[in-house]
């Protein structure tokens, strides 16, 4: 290959402008990245902050190093791919090792900060009114008799009692506790500095308001103490909960007895916390253990896994068979081939969601046209009772495959048409001279040659259907439900729908950790299929060459 001379930047008149543009864009990106890094780091979202800095660094290196010119062209795509595809995959792995979810939404530091924000409000005092000209002041009288004076926008000031009486004058303010003054104090309402005001209630007798944190955090002891009630909560850094110290042993015993139990119920009983949530910690393989060991999860898991494989396999088989059949029919000299083809692509040209939902209507148990026009007559003819498409597990699955056949065959029809046209006709000639009949020709000539080019697509279609989330979601949201299963698992749920339900499903709250675990398991299955595909396609290519 000829070595291409790198055109010197200075030669062309536009290069100064491009140079400025490039540096300008880089600076803009860097500024944005730094801003995000600073803000995200402040939030404690270190993973994303670091990822953004690394990606930005990479983009900078690529665009500044003189010998990486080819990569400059790729850098925008690469940056997007890293941020929106690669990082999410890595982050998914990380989340699968944590207890992230509605029950553990924040890091420990964030959670403590939130809890310390929780303040005791509306502490009541007796009070007396003071006046200086038109300005008002308030003397707060605590239960123990100590005094504090608040006026205008000044901070509260401690005042000593003289002879057991309220002072007659403070900072020029004169005691005037008449009813009229008190009313005026109530009318003004707020006193003290703007960031920490005290409020006088409409209730004339008492009032005022002071804010103190309800909890005190003790770093060394790893405990939170409720100032009002004296309750102590101990942090469990392994599982991310604050547990009442007096019941901590009981809690540990419960955990030990059943490490995979959902702790929420027990924690609710023992923590009685204003926030009612734990914090995010790395829990190691606990999600994986829960996923594979808990009966409520494992039962449906096996069934869902088997169905996912069956669904993907049957979908590919059906769509490929029908698509190939039509491709063969269209290849023969049939009048109106072009019109047939155009009409037969229509299912492929419709938005999948709309198509599936339309079928959902047509298969409806009571009023669906498919049920009324086809299922009922068959029932009448055979004298049997065909169960409904949405209540019966088997029928739901049959319906799903039917709809997917409708959606998917045009793709294989198109692909097979292309591939068939690519098979040289002299091969058939030779075969028929040798006396091979149609079936022999098809089986030992057409199919192997077709599979060389279409084979990888079959596997791609398998992985696609393995994760065909929208199909199931739009058809019946995974129903009918499997009895006794957690997270509303249903008979038509694919693994990906199951993961989705765990993450975003209503009911028990989101559990991102567990959902990511399911995603990781799917990742691994897909990866295995990919390796398998590489082997498989290589085999096919070899057969193709031998033919």
């Amino acid at each position: 290959m000829a070595k291409r001379a790198e055109s010197p930047q200075g030669d062309s008149p536009s290069s100064i402008i491009t140079l400025l543009l490039r540096y300008g864009a880089l600076m803009l990106i860097d500024a944005l990245a730094l801003f995000l890094f600073y803000r995200l780091a402040t939030d404690g979202v270190w993973e994303l902050a670091v990822a953004i800095v690394l990606i930005t660094l990479l983009v900078n290196v690529i665009n500044l190093a003189p010998n990486l010119v080819p990569l400059r062209w790729i850098s925008p795509s690469l940056a997007l791919l890293l941020l929106m595809v690669v990082y999410p995959i890595i982050y998914t792995v990380y989340v699968s090792f944590t207890n992230y979810g509605d029950a553990h939404p924040y890091t420990k530091a964030q959670t403590i900060a939130l809890i310390l924000n929780e303040q005791i409000v509306g502490r009541s005092y007796s009070w007396a009114a003071y006046v200086r000209g038109e300005e008002l002041g308030v003397m707060l009288i605590d239960e123990d008799g100590s005094l504090e004076f608040v006026a205008g926008n000044a901070a509260p000031r401690r005042v000593e009692r003289v002879d057991g009486e309220l002072p007659q004058e403070v900072d020029g303010y004169i005691l005037d506790d008449s009813r009229g003054r008190r009313l005026r104090v109530v009318a003004q309402g707020t006193f003290g500095p703007a960031d920490d005001p005290i409020t006088v209630n409409r209730n004339l007798a008492i009032v005022v308001n002071e804010k103190t944190p309800r909890y005190i955090w003790d770093e060394a002891a790893n405990t939170l103490t409720n100032v009002e009630t004296g309750e102590v909560f101990r942090a469990d850094d392994q599982r991310g909960w604050f547990i009442r110290a007096d019941r901590y042993e009981e809690y540990l015993a419960a955990v030990e007895a059943d490490p995979n139990a959902r702790l929420g119920d027990f924690v609710m009983k023992t923590s009685q916390f204003p926030l009612q949530v734990g914090y995010r910690v790395v829990v190691g393989l606990q999600n994986f253990e829960r996923f594979f060991n808990s009966p409520a999860l494992r039962g449906p898991l096996v069934s869902i896994f088997l169905w996912t494989v069956t669904f993907a396999f049957m979908s590919v088989l059906l769509t490929f068979t029908v698509g190939l059949l039509i491709a063969l029919l269209l290849q023969a000299k049939t009048p109106g081939r072009r019109i047939f083809r155009t009409l037969l692509i229509v299912p492929y040209a419709l938005p999948a969601l709309i198509a599936v939902v339309t079928w959902r209507g047509m298969l409806n148990d009571n009023f669906g046209v498919f049920t009324l026009w086809i299922i009922r007559p068959i029932e009448g003819l055979l004298g049997v009772d065909i169960p409904s498409f949405f209540a019966d597990p088997t029928m739901a699955r049959v319906g799903l495959l039917l709809v997917n056949l409708w959606l998917g065959y045009p793709y294989f029809m198109l692909v097979c048409s292309g591939a068939l046209a690519g098979i040289p006709s002299d091969m058939y000639e030779a075969a028929s001279v040798d006396g091979a009949n149609w079936w022999q020709q098809f089986r030992s000539l057409t199919l192997p040659l077709l599979l060389v080019s279409v084979g990888p697509l079959l596997i791609a279609s398998f992985t696609f259907n393995f994760n065909n989330f929208v199909m199931v979601e739009a058809y019946n949201e995974g129903g009918p439900p499997i009895a006794g299963a957690a997270f509303g698992a249903g008979h038509t749920d694919l693994l990906i729908n199951y993961a989705f339900q765990i993450a975003f499903g209503t009911g028990r709250g989101a559990d991102y950790g567990l959902a990511s675990t399911v995603s990781i398991v799917i990742f691994m299955i897909v990866a295995t299929i990919t390796v398998f595909q590489k082997r498989f396609t290589r085999n096919w290519e070899e057969t193709g060459r031998n033919v």
């Binding site: 062209w73 995959i89 063969l328 080019s453 994760n467 993450a503």
Partner: protein, 313 residues
């Protein structure tokens, strides 16, 4: 049987058929009729749902129970178009807003995909550099994992970024576009690179000799030459984004920011499907038209791009 099979088995030289026994013509005709019958049956299977949804959209009674193939009780245009009227003129259903969101998101995604992928494809096609083949394989490998699998992570990332840069956060078109763009890179770069490879390199060489730099060569010479594949990728990206549902539903949260697919599904399918059947049908008909027209008009180009990508990818 064998001769019939041969005729079914298409594309075969006519000569080999001609020397077959008498009655061949008759048999051939029967097989043709069988073929036609099968194809017609398939067409009915393929088109019936479309006919049915169109009929539902014109049924003045809206509900699924009352639907007949030919809408009953239609006496004037108002009744015929009642579902469309309800859909378009009910403030609760910001239909045009959904359409505008969908079109905006799909257009920006499609434009961005074409521009960014073309840049990358040019580099992969024209330069030889360290790590090139590894990068290409990496693009393919990443593509094996659909981004719906990492949806939890994507959701959290947008949430985290969105607190500081609101227009690319959750519930925004910007955030969704970023996600789509990231997901669109792999396959499309491959598809385009395949096409770029078919443009003779002599064109670049001569331009470079004449003193043009790479950018000028790319922008003024190559870019116009590869327009067909850019159009195909752009259209496929537009249609794919316009019809996308899963990610859009997770990321977009309220009625005003929904795309057409999410809006239709959440308003008419998630609750009272049977009662909303007619309105849903009207929405589907309007919502399917853009894609359908694009596909049917450009089917040759799209099929070309599809099979090319398929064989290559």
């Amino acid at each position: 049987m064998s001769s019939a099979g041969v005729s079914l088995k298409a594309g075969i030289d006519a000569k080999s058929k001609k020397r077959i026994e008498l009655g061949y013509r008759g048999q051939q005709r029967i097989w043709m009729i069988v073929r036609m019958a099968i194809l017609t049956a398939m067409v009915i299977f393929a088109l019936f749902p479309v006919v049915w949804i169109v009929s539902a959209s014109f049924n003045p009674k809206q509900s699924m129970v009352s639907q007949t193939l030919i809408p009953q009780g239609v006496e004037n245009a108002e009744q015929l178009l009642r579902n469309y009227n309800t859909l378009l003129n009910t403030p609760r259903y910001p239909f045009w807003r959904w359409v505008a969101n969908s079109v905006f998101i799909a257009a920006v995604t499609s434009f961005g995909t074409v521009m960014l992928c073309a840049l990358s494809a040019y580099s992969f096609s024209r330069f030889r550099f360290w790590g090139r083949s590894n990068l290409l394989v990496f693009l393919l490998l990443v593509q094996v994992f659909p981004n719906i699998l990492a949806v939890v992570a994507i959701y959290l990332i947008l949430q985290q970024i969105g607190t500081h840069i609101p227009f690319i956060g959750l519930n925004t078109a910007g955030g969704l576009i970023l996600v789509y763009l990231g997901g669109a890179m792999g396959v499309n770069i491959w598809l385009m690179k395949g096409f770029f490879d078919t443009v003779p390199r002599d064109i670049d060489e001569s331009a470079l000799v004449d003193g043009a730099n790479h950018w000028q060569t790319y922008w003024l010479l190559i870019f116009p030459l590869v327009r067909p594949i850019l159009v195909v990728v752009g259209i496929l990206a537009f249609v794919g984004t316009f019809n996308e549902f899963a990610l859009a539903r997770v990321i977009l949260r309220d009625n005003e920011s929904w795309t057409l697919m999410v809006g239709l599904y959440t308003n008419f399918v998630s609750n009272n499907f049977g009662q909303n059947w007619g309105i849903y049908a009207a929405g589907s008909v309007l919502g399917s038209l853009p894609t359908l027209i694009i596909y049917l008009l450009l089917q040759d180009q799209i099929v070309g791009g599809l099979t090319q990508g398929a064989v290559k990818g």
